[in-house]
Symmetry: C2
């Protein structure tokens, strides 16, 4: 099998990590191209990466692209003869990139659900609007599409598959927990695109329980957890991509919940903005012009990529699984940590971007060598987790697994 | 002396109260006209007022006017043959209205310092930029201009003059205290124009101490006070109009401070907005258009006039004076209370607007009958306080005076 040419779409924080790692492991791929709207940004990233990994040799090409333009997207895939498209652009672009892959036969991978700018609080499962209706076409044309292959969603789904394969005969509950104990030193900032980030926090929380979707008011359900290397944090139940597919692929589970850590200050700022209408995407008239309040807020907030240099501390993302093995009740935690400063030293990005880009290239290497080849649209928990979990540490992130006490306590230090 | 024709400029909350009271006491005046930009608003107010006080008889005329246009302003005064202009418009309009009065010979009254939209944290005394340079011209042409004749500034300055005339031989300290213990039931709102209100809170605090201006960081100096009918509140030192003139007119005072009550929630919302750059008046580019962040915030906040109907609770504004009488140390408090619901029932406005409009018409009646006739520009503490304090209860607001313990304690209930 020939090594596929790679097309990475998106030059934000995740695109930068993905391009770094693609170039580091370039022996696994054909040509590598990074495409996005801003030519200056592309050139800056390419110069930096080729300097870092290839002594300045031009092993990474760049192309300007509007990924929401289907014709442009199709033409670029054809022009590059791309065999694998890594979509790490804004999730507003998923629809056109999916269709361009269907049209050209290129394999597809993304890290987040498709979003529509003016639609919020849609009914679960969220994948049923844009992704799943396209699955029959991917199957029919034998094209692979890997949905949600960042860390969460992505690696956490694979942790669940690992738990089912190796740890438990029956899984009763899945709790996905994401804590960023890092500090960027700014008054307030979002770690990725402010539009998407504020929308995520704005929406009601969705969980899967007793074979049904449950919606609860946002930030109304929380718990305190002590996780490895980050200490004790309050985490809040939220709707999130991975629940939407895990509910389908782990149908006998009693409950699946996603938990995200937020500090009091972060939630306070969010609540003020939201209560005043400043997170809304619906334009209002101000002195004769129309402005979407959330776009003004985004314009005033720091660029997420600019946070990387001063970012300190660690993140911890993992999955708590409860169930039975050989009739005995068991509880496990499978997780990874990343260190903002270490990640910055290696690729110039903070850990939120790093932990999303590493799984993308881990998967891309498995796809390129034929290990993962479903020839249809899949969520990554449907694939064999073992080769992925064996390879991810080599790409950049280690993982750990530990059996936990059944009383629900956390055996990790509360303070770090 | 003929009764002067009144021109009221501005149809916000204060303009509405002023027009109500002008009509109620219309026997003291010639014609009465309310002028502002918005014809619909003017007509609505006029219909309501003529219905309330005159059985629908057209005793209040309205005129559309851009008060920042000097030619328009002059033409309107001439056309109405206005003898007294009551400026209760945005303080961005003071400059043109002052000049129009100088040009036409009409007497002038306002309730707040002139402001320039893009200038903040100017050096004290604030009156030295726009008002005082025009004083020689008012004197020369024998035109009266009454500066800062709302409640604070205004009545509190008159309370100081009363203290000097009747209570103390020497005044050591003046503390002006403004507490709004009312509740409008909204998440966040400003009680008057959001531009001016947020700017006031944004600026450093200025006090007069030991014959010098002192500037301290905003919200850094506070005290808890228990005031009549409103209970205990935390009040913060702020720069405010009245300090700027009292320092000149009470030159032997050791210290003059203005204190405003703010709840924790109010300051929290303000601080979030301010830290994110959302109180700034400097336009930023958002999706190709330029927008001043504070104007977007204003567009999202409730119209201050809309708060009146549901507003409950009371306000207390007063002056604490310390000094000596016949060689003996004394401490006094002189104050007024207003009740939001009572004021709404009477004129359809909340107490912040009411307590500003009542002094305007009290003064206008004294000016109309010749009691106050300085024929130059004055701050109201330069005038005889007695006729004003005798008349204000008749117009709508009573006042009280009490000698207080020298230990600094407040003899009023902490809870109401």
């Amino acid at each position: 099998m020939a090594k596929p040419n790679l097309l990475i779409v998106g030059a934000g924080g995740v695109g930068q990590v993905t391009a770094n790692k693609a170039v580091q492991f370039r022996d696994d791929f054909g040509t590598i191209t990074l495409a996005a709207r801003n030519a200056d940004k592309l050139n800056r990233i390419a110069t930096e990466i080729c300097g870092r990994w290839a002594g300045g040799e031009q092993v990474l090409s760049v192309r300007t692209l509007d990924a929401r333009n289907l014709d442009e997207m199709i033409a670029l895939i054809r022009d590059l003869d791309a065999g694998l498209v890594l979509n790490v652009a804004s999730s507003y672009c998923n629809r056109t990139i999916l269709d361009a892959c269907l049209e050209t036969g290129a394999n597809y991978l993304d890290t987040a659900l498709a979003e529509d700018e003016f639609i919020e609080n849609i009914e679960a499962p969220w994948y049923s609007y844009i992704e799943w209706p396209r699955r029959p076409k991917f199957a029919e044309r034998k094209i692979s599409a890997f949905l949600g292959m960042g860390f969460d969603p992505g690696v956490v789904n694979i942790f669940c598959a690992y738990g089912r394969k190796h740890l438990l005969d029956e899984i009763d509950t899945i709790d996905i927990i994401d804590v960023n104990a890092g500090s960027h030193g700014r008054y307030f900032a979002t770690n990725f695109d402010a539009d998407i980030n504020l929308r995520e926090i704005r929406e009601d929380a969705i969980t899967w329980e007793d074979k049904a979707w449950k919606t609860i008011p946002r930030h109304s359900h929380w718990m305190d957890v002590s996780l490895p290397e980050v200490g004790t944090h309050r985490v809040y139940s939220m709707g999130h991509d991975e629940i939407q597919s895990l509910a389908v692929n782990f149908p006998d589970t009693h409950r699946i919940t996603f938990w995200m850590g937020f500090g009091e200050h972060y939630l306070n700022v969010f609540n003020v903005l939201d209560n005043l209408g400043l997170t809304s995407s619906v334009p209002v008239e101000v002195d004769g012009v129309k402005v979407a309040p959330n776009r003004l807020v985004k314009a005033l907030l720091p660029d997420p990529a600019s946070l990387a240099e001063g970012y300190t501390g660690k993140i911890c993302i993992g999955v708590e699984l409860r169930g039975r093995k050989d009739g005995k009740e068991k509880r496990f935690f499978i997780w990874s940590n990343c260190d903002h400063q270490e990640n910055f030293r290696e690729v110039g990005s903070q850990s939120i971007s790093y932990s999303t880009g590493i799984p993308v290239i881990t998967a891309a290497r498995l796809i390129a060598n034929g290990t993962w080849n479903p020839q249809t649209m899949v969520h990554v928990e449907e694939l064999d987790p073992d080769p992925f979990m064996a390879l991810m540490p080599d790409v950049g992130i280690a993982w750990q697994m530990q059996e936990l006490p059944l009383d629900g306590s956390w055996p990790y230090p509360a303070e770090v």
